[in-house]
């Protein structure tokens, strides 16, 4: 099957995802992150946690804008891996894919663990025991929480069963849950600021509990995990009709909403509770915070815990689904073996991908529980994979402005410098350069301060590359070079399938002008 045919077949999957549906698709993925990140970042950045989130948020805006432009221009599932492949070629496309695959496997482990953490919010009420009391020592390993690990593993096994059987949550379920979450988070923030927030406590913690530079670097690099999941923007674009109109609107709203929550929660937390209280509740920080708000706390605490457990489980499930989508795309581009594409004879689901990559997630989960803080260890790896992928996406955005200036861009990252390149006018995205510097500094922080991430992250990429080199050599394909691909034909098919006829005409006209300049035949 050639690439154009497979792309055309995939595009048949398009369905009419509404603006609200598209927004909620993304929100169910990114909106859950704060539930996991708040306690982790608080433990590192202490009295400056809100600053750590704000700085990571600034970088996130630039990454989000880059994803918005690329997803609206190339509305094809595959996300960062696809954009990097188009911009930088096969090798870097594979590296981006491997980094994102690391994130998806960690996503399964981290969010299943976090989901179990919110279930544990009820342990003191139901059984009179706190989950931290159940930790044991196993030889040289201390604070190993086998109970929490068992719960997390059960959740992952449940997800494997769901995905192999092909049972998925409906769009309506996602929309209702997303709406409930937005209402709950907004209520916690409004009530928290109105009735529980003490500005003097925030100022006191800022003045007396400011972290060291190393702690702050660690905290701000962890804060980026509260914004991970931007890939969902491109996943939604693939299945949305008229993505050029819908994607920029939903994407910008998503960026704005997540940013508001991610900066408001730590700011409020530091004015309501000492940072140590939130840091101690690393498994259920939002529920702990909600529980301490007067008037609504009695209900808001358990409700936030229940909602957190559900939305985090959905986020873990998105890791299982995204890993199979990504590996499918990678095998189509001849990066990995087609063996991964096999579907289950009865359930018609990609069972091999689900078992292999969720299995890797299970190994990561078990290993992380052998360290003193499982969530912290998993976040280390998560931050490495995300920042590596985002750097490549930002470079690709800049490169594609030069190498593919003809593709219509319904949305462009603001602040552009007009240049002439090979007789063609191009717009150089200054904000992407700023974003690139921002993400690079976060990756630098990760490598400098994350003891596990700096070793395990690159080791994952090296192992993945060894497999890639073996696979490509075995099939007589270039390892460092790229295969010839007809991007222009595919772009026309993508625009046609998306019913973006005006953009299709614009694209054809631009290509015709180029051919005219060359003295060739217009397409």
């Amino acid at each position: 099957m050639n690439l154009a045919t497979s792309a055309a077949e995939k595009l048949e999957l398009r369905r009419d995802v509404t603006v609200w549906g598209s927004f909620m698709w993304g929100y169910a993925d990114v909106g859950a992150d704060i539930y996991a990140a708040l306690g982790l970042v608080m433990a590192a950045a202490q009295g400056a946690t809100h600053l750590a989130f704000a700085l990571a948020g600034l970088v996130y805006i630039m990454i989000g804008l880059a994803y918005t432009e690329l997803a609206a221009t190339y509305p094809v599932a595959g996300g960062g891996q696809y954009f990097t492949l188009r911009g930088l070629g096969d090798f870097w496309g594979f590296i981006a894919g491997a980094a994102l695959l690391l994130d998806y496997t960690i996503d399964i482990a981290l969010f299943a663990t976090a989901s179990a953490g919110y279930v544990n919010f009820f342990l003191p009420v139901l059984f009179g025991v706190d989950v931290s009391q159940l930790a044991v020592s196993l030889g040289p390993l201390h604070h190993v929480n086998l109970f929490w690990m068992g719960e997390s593993l059960l959740l992952v096994l449940f997800l494997i069963w769901l995905n192999i059987r092909g049972i998925r949550e409906s769009s309506l379920f996602n929309e209702i849950l997303g709406a409930l979450d937005i209402i709950t988070e907004s209520t916690i923030i409004v009530f928290g600021f109105l009735f529980a927030w003490h500005p003097e406590l925030l100022a006191h913690q800022w003045n007396t509990q400011f972290p060291t530079l190393r702690q702050f670097m660690y905290g701000s690099s962890l804060a980026i995990i509260s914004f991970v999941g931007l890939e969902s923007i491109s996943q939604a674009a693939q299945e949305t009709k008229r993505p050029a109109t819908i994607v920029p609107r939903t994407s910008l709203t998503l960026i704005f909403t997540v940013l508001i929550f991610a900066t408001a929660f730590p700011t409020m937390s530091l004015g309501v509770l000492p940072w140590q209280d939130i840091a101690r509740s690393v498994g259920d920080p939002v529920a702990r915070l909600a529980h301490s708000i007067p008037l609504i706390g009695v209900i808001a605490g358990p409700f936030a815990a229940l909602l957190g457990a559900t939305i985090l489980l959905i986020s873990a499930n998105s890791g299982v689904m995204s890993a199979s989508r990504l590996t499918y795309a990678m095998s189509q581009f001849q990066f990995i073996s087609e063996w991964f594409n096999s579907v289950h004879p009865r359930y018609r689901t990609p069972h091999r991908t689900i078992l292999v990559f969720t299995g890797i997630g299970v190994i990561q989960l078990v290993l992380s529980f052998l360290t003193p803080n499982a969530m912290d260890t998993l976040s280390n790896m998560y931050a490495f994979g995300a920042t590596t992928g985002y750097i490549l996406v930002l470079i690709s955005l800049i490169k594609l402005r030069f190498s593919d200036p003809f593709a219509p861009r319904p949305y462009k990252v603001p602040l552009n410098l007009k240049l002439k390149h090979n007789g063609q006018r191009v717009q150089f995205p200054l904000l992407a350069v700023v974003g690139l510097l921002g993400v690079s500094s976060i990756l630098f922080e990760v490598i400098l301060t994350h003891a596990i991430g700096r070793i395990a992250g690159p080791a994952w990429l090296v192992l993945a590359f060894a497999y890639y080199a073996w696979y490509r050599r075995r099939h007589g394909l270039p390892v460092m070079g790229s295969l010839p691909r007809d991007w222009e034909t595919q772009q026309m098919q993508v625009l046609e399938a998306a019913e973006e006829y005006a953009l299709l005409e614009q694209y054809r006209a631009a290509l015709a002008r180029r051919e005219g300049r060359k003295g060739g035949v217009s397409p």
Binding site: H198, P199, T253
Partner: protein, 66 residues
């Protein structure tokens, strides 16, 4: 108006009282940070409220022109 518009309208309306309440609560212990937090909420609400002004003007214009 779509669901998205209703959502934006309600969050904008909520930001005004939150910003004002933060300033009000800050009066007892005035710090630059609390003023900034309240100010950010108010600034954001004002910025977003501008879109409602544009919307109402457009609707008014459409009604006037039949």
């Amino acid at each position: 108006m779509s669901w998205r518009d209703y959502y934006q309208a309600s969050t904008t309306l909520l930001m005004f009282p939150v910003g004002l309440a933060i300033w009000w609560r800050s009066l007892a212990h005035l710090t630059a940070m609390s003023l900034a937090v309240g100010g950010l909420f108010l600034a954001l609400a004002t910025y977003r409220a501008y879109f409602f002004v544009v919307y109402w003007r457009r609707m008014k214009g459409e009604r006037q022109h039949g």
